[in-house]
C-alpha cells in the first residue's frame, strides 16, 4: 500500500473516531463566524523555509546552472521524495502552500544535480495541517532506507512533529553540498 493510501486511511479513521458530523459542523461554523477562530488563522499566507521563528531548515540555494522544473517528479531534488510535490500545491520546492505548516522534523537525503554534477543534501520537510494535496504524486526513493532506519525513511508521516498531523505535501530544500552520495557504502 502506498504511503498516500496509508496516510489517507489513518487520517480518515482518526477523524471518524474523534469527531461526529454535528460537532464538526458546529466547530466549522464557529471558526467561520467567531472572531476568536479567525484570529487563530495564520497571518502570513506562506510559510517559508527561512528559519524565521519556525524550526525549519534555512535553504542553502547557492547552486549554478539550470534548476529544472520543481513541478515535475523528475526534478533533480525529488530523487528520494515520496509524496506530493509542494510546487504543484500552491507552494514551491522550498515553501509550504498557504495555510499549511512545515514540520520541524523530517528526513535528509542526497541528490545529484545534473546541471553541475554535484551532490547536495536535501531536507524533505512535510507540509502539514491541510488535507492531501493530490497533485504531482512522486514516489522516487533513491538512497531511501526501510522504516527501521527511520532518519532515512520516507514512508514516515513527518507531520508527527507539527501541530497538525494531516499531511499535505513535501518540499525539497537544499541545506548544503554532500561529499558522499546516499546510500553510503
Amino acid at each position: 500500500m502506498s504511503r498516500i493510501d496509508r496516510l489517507t486511511e489513518r487520517a480518515a479513521r482518526a477523524l471518524a473516531r474523534s469527531t461526529g458530523r454535528r460537532s464538526f459542523l458546529s466547530r466549522a461554523g464557529g471558526l467561520l463566524v467567531g472572531g476568536a477562530g479567525l484570529a487563530a488563522l495564520p497571518v502570513l499566507p506562506v510559510v517559508r523555509a527561512d528559519g524565521g521563528g519556525a524550526r525549519v531548515p534555512a535553504p542553502n540555494e547557492d547552486i549554478e546552472g539550470p534548476e529544472g522544473d520543481p513541478k515535475s517528479c523528475e526534478y533533480w531534488r525529488h530523487c528520494a521524495i515520496d509524496g506530493f510535490a509542494c510546487a504543484c500545491c500552491g507552494g514551491s520546492a522550498t515553501a509550504c502552500p498557504p495555510g499549511s505548516e512545515m514540520s520541524p522534523v523530517t528526513w535528509v537525503g542526497t541528490c545529484r544535480n545534473p546541471a553541475d554534477g554535484k551532490d547536495y543534501l536535501i531536507s524533505y520537510n512535510d507540509c502539514c495541517g491541510k488535507g492531501l494535496c493530490g497533485r504531482c504524486q512522486c514516489n522516487r526513493n533513491e538512497g531511501e532506507r526501510p522504516d527501521y532506519h527511520w532518519v532515512r525513511a520516507n514512508d514516515i508521516n513527518w507531520c508527527a512533529g507539527a501541530k497538525s498531523q494531516a499531511y499535505h505535501c513535501s518540499v525539497a530544500i537544499v541545506i548544503g553540498q554532500a561529499t558522499e552520495p546516499q546510500p553510503e557504502r
Binding site: 523530517t106 528526513w107 543534501l121 532518519v151 532515512r152 561529499t179 558522499e180 553510503e184
Partner: protein, 130 residues
C-alpha cells in the same frame, strides 16, 4: 617536512579509499539534523535538544548512555565516524567536549549493547543530575 608527511598520512588514513573525507557536519546533517535540527535545538515536546548535555555526560553512566541511545548506536556509520560525530556534537552544541574523546573502540563496545529501556535509563540520569 616529516611532520607534513605525517599529517598527510593521518588525513589519508581517516578518509575512505579514493574519496574525499566526509565533513563531520555532513554526517550530522544526514544522521541527526532531521530530528534535532541543524542548530541542535530539537523541538520542544517532540525531539530533545542537544544543547546543555554537559551534566548528562558527567553523570554516572552518562557517557555510556550517550553512545548507547538508539539514535546514536544505530546510526549507519562506522565506529570511527560515529565517535568523531558524537565528540563533535557534544563540543559544538553543548560546549562539553568529552575527556578523553570517544574512541572508535569505545563506541564499538558501547553500541554493541544498545539500551533496551531508553526512557528509564534517561530518567535515572536526570534524577541524578537534579
Amino acid at each position: 617536512m616529516k611532520a607534513l608527511a605525517l599529517a598527510g598520512a593521518l588525513v589519508l588514513s581517516a578518509a575512505a579509499p579514493g574519496r574525499a573525507e566526509v565533513p563531520v557536519s555532513e554526517d550530522y546533517a544526514l544522521n541527526c539534523s532531521a530530528c534535532h535540527g541543524l542548530d541542535g535545538a530539537g523541538t520542544p515536546g517532540v525531539t530533545p535538544t542537544l544543547h546543555g548535555l554537559g551534566p548528562l555526560l558527567a553523570a554516572t553512566g552518562g557517557r555510556a548512555y550517550l553512545a548507547r541511545v538508539p539514535g546514536v548506536a544505530q546510526a549507519p556509520l562506522s565506529d570511527a565516524r560515529l565517535a568523531r560525530l558524537l565528540n563533535w556534537v557534544l563540543e559544538r552544541y553543548s560546549d562539553a567536549a568529552p575527556e578523553p574523546p570517544y574512541s572508535a573502540d569505545e563506541i564499538g563496545r558501547l553500541r554493541s549493547a544498545p539500551l533496551r529501556d531508553t526512557r528509564s535509563a534517561r530518567e535515572a540520569l536526570v534524577a541524578e543530575i537534579r
